[in-house]
């Protein structure tokens, strides 16, 4: 019996970074709970990721590897997950706050006659219960919640938890689980991949983001030029995406991607709470905005109060020269 069961995700046959973070969090929580850490890998080609889950800290790995699970579907996933939770009987179930986690967690919790807490950014244990700290009110506030029923289902935000140092010498039990698959009433008939040239947003160490104050979609080319020099990803505010200036897949914020790079360079973005909800965890925020009272400066390490059109070309030149002499 485990104290914490992680419902991990795989991509291209490997364990996702977030799944390793979840196992790290589970390991720390299990110290104050009763039992070890287990991890379920539900999908297609997931068996290959089992050793990585053990190395990341799982004592037990349940593998459900079926080509019919290649495409996530709510109605096939939830009963499989419920079966493993019932078999493993954990006190806590952790999922990532991903397209899968946000969709499945509330249904899974309801099926297990319990409740879920979504989008945790901090986790701790008090009296056998997990205390979940989660942002709310568009990032303006945080609440701490506990779940009175069992198991406690929690989704966790990417990059909010540290993974353990992977240890290939760790040992763990890997079990193949046989499941009956339900045929879903909803099926995915097509998939459109967002054309993301360059560095993916959620993995980037530097993000350069543009907002409505850029004034025109063409300005994003200038951001892309600087991004290429810096090895950065380009993001956008919702206002810029809604105007059609940049693809919605690049939206940063509450309803877009949450990023926490070393450097977040916000150009002509006001810093509304819902935008900061997606980048407030960045290690260094730097803004160029012509309004000294813009909300974003309240989050910044460095700020430039000026028309970005006058600053950006010189900044691009200066950074190009600096990086050339590295």
């Amino acid at each position: 019996m485990a104290s914490v069961l992680v419902l991990g995700e795989t991509a291209d046959g490997g364990l996702t970074a977030l799944s390793a973070e979840l196992i790290g969090a589970a390991f720390r929580l299990s110290g104050d709970l009763d039992g070890g850490v287990s991890c379920a890998l539900i999908g297609s080609g997931t068996a290959d990721a089992a050793p990585a889950a053990v190395a990341a800290g799982a004592d037990t790995v349940y593998v459900v590897d079926d080509s019919a699970l290649a495409q996530y579907q709510t109605e096939t996933f939830v009963p499989v997950a419920a079966q493993i939770v019932e078999q493993d009987a954990p006190q806590v179930v952790l999922m990532g706050q991903t397209s899968i986690g946000r969709d499945a967690a509330p249904r899974l919790a309801t099926r297990l006659d319990t409740a879920a807490a979504m989008d945790a950014v901090e986790l701790s244990v008090d009296g056998g219960r997990v205390r979940v700290t989660r942002p709310c009110f568009g990032g303006n506030a945080r609440q701490v919640v506990t779940i009175a029923t069992a198991p406690q289902v929690v989704t966790v935000r990417a990059k909010s938890q540290d993974p353990l140092e992977p240890d290939p010498t760790r040992t763990g039990a890997v079990t193949q689980v046989a499941v009956d698959l339900v045929s879903p009433r909803a099926t995915v008939t097509a998939k459109e991949e967002a054309q993301s040239e360059g560095v993916p947003l959620n993995a980037a160490d530097i993000v350069i983001a543009g907002g409505r104050g850029l004034g025109a979609p063409e300005a994003f080319h200038d951001l892309e030029e600087l991004a290429q020099i810096m090895g950065a990803a380009v993001g956008a505010s919702r206002a810029a995406c809604d105007l059609g200036w940049y693809p919605p897949s690049q939206q940063v914020g509450l309803t877009g991607t949450v990023v926490s790079p070393t450097l977040y360079l916000a150009i002509a973005i006001s810093g509304a709470s819902q935008h900061m909800a997606g980048c407030g965890g960045s290690k260094n925020i730097v803004a160029i905005n012509k309004d000294v009272d813009a909300n974003i400066f309240g989050f910044c390490r460095f700020g430039v109060v000026e028309d970005y059109k006058k600053v950006l070309p010189a900044l691009t030149d200066a950074i190009r020269r600096l990086l050339a002499v590295r």
């Binding site: 879920a116 506030a141 609440q143 450097l263 819902q274 400066f297 200066a318």
Partner: protein, 267 residues
């Protein structure tokens, strides 16, 4: 094509962040002066989706359903003014202090009582507590398929074709009805009610139900029935001290910024 759209009235999420204050002892938001509550923006988009689906299907009744205090009536009226036909208001002191579970439980009973519609529409999340759970829980309770975080929906002769926003792009999903759909901001702007429609909506009756009307024990809803408990509520500190980079010209400012980023080993 009959639809029920679940709408929540919330504090205006577009209010300035500086006006947002909480009372940590009562764990409530301090109502900012002059800021009016609004229908949660994704719920207005869910209403728009329902109206478009009905247009495509040719006919159907659209019901607006909200759980909340007296003021939540305005959110229902907003839906009626946009073009919905019936309003239902779950309003009783017993509903207060609930969580996603108790809200979804009450909504699901009300939806069954209204008469099972073809499509149940929700916002992807209520823009106050940002839970993003209620639609999925209702789907589970009513044993319906759920397709979440949608940028578009189409009526397809009794089925729905939806485009779901996922982290790496979009998925086209085909689903049978009845089903639960949750709408995301990519759906686009909802119509704005005209004055004449607002006046007509003002005259419409809204049905009010309490727990007993839904066959629910008052102890099963609101704070008494909640499965989650709030332990703390606060505004996070962000301790950043912005250093404004100076310079005699914009070019000089840019060069100074690049230098500072390098000195701080950020680049």
């Amino acid at each position: 094509m009959d639809a029920v759209v679940c709408v929540k009235q919330i504090l205006d999420p577009e209010m300035p962040a500086s006006a947002f204050k909480v009372d940590e002892t009562t764990m409530t938001v301090v109502p900012p002066p002059g800021v009016q509550p609004v229908i949660s923006p994704f719920d207005a988009q869910a209403l728009e989706a329902a109206l478009q689906l009905r247009d495509a299907a040719g006919a159907g009744a659209i019901s607006v359903l909200s759980l909340g205090p007296d003021s939540a009536r305005d959110a229902i009226k907003h839906g009626l003014a946009m073009g919905a036909d019936e309003g239902y208001h779950l309003n009783d002191p017993a509903f207060e202090g609930g969580d996603a579970w108790t809200t979804a439980l009450a909504l699901s009973k009300a939806i069954e009582k209204i008469g099972r519609p073809d499509v149940l529409l929700f916002g992807r999340q209520a823009a106050d507590w940002d839970l993003g759970q209620t639609g999925s829980i209702v789907a589970e309770l009513l044993d319906l398929p759920s397709v979440t975080v949608l940028r578009s929906v189409q009526w397809n002769d009794g089925r729905i074709t939806a485009s779901r926003v996922v982290s790496d792009g979009f998925e086209t999903v085909d689903v049978s009805t009845p089903c639960v759909l949750t709408i995301s901001n990519e759906f686009g702007d909802p119509r704005y009610p005209q004055l004449r429609q607002i006046m007509q909506a003002a005259k419409k009756q809204v049905t009010i139900w309490g727990p007993a009307d839904l066959g629910l024990d008052p102890g099963a809803v609101g704070a008494a029935g909640a499965r989650t408990k709030m332990e703390a509520f606060f505004v996070p500190e962000h301790e950043a001290q912005c250093e404004f980079v100076e310079g005699d010209s914009p070019e000089e400012m840019a060069q100074n910024l690049a230098q500072k980023l390098r000195q701080a080993k950020i680049i």
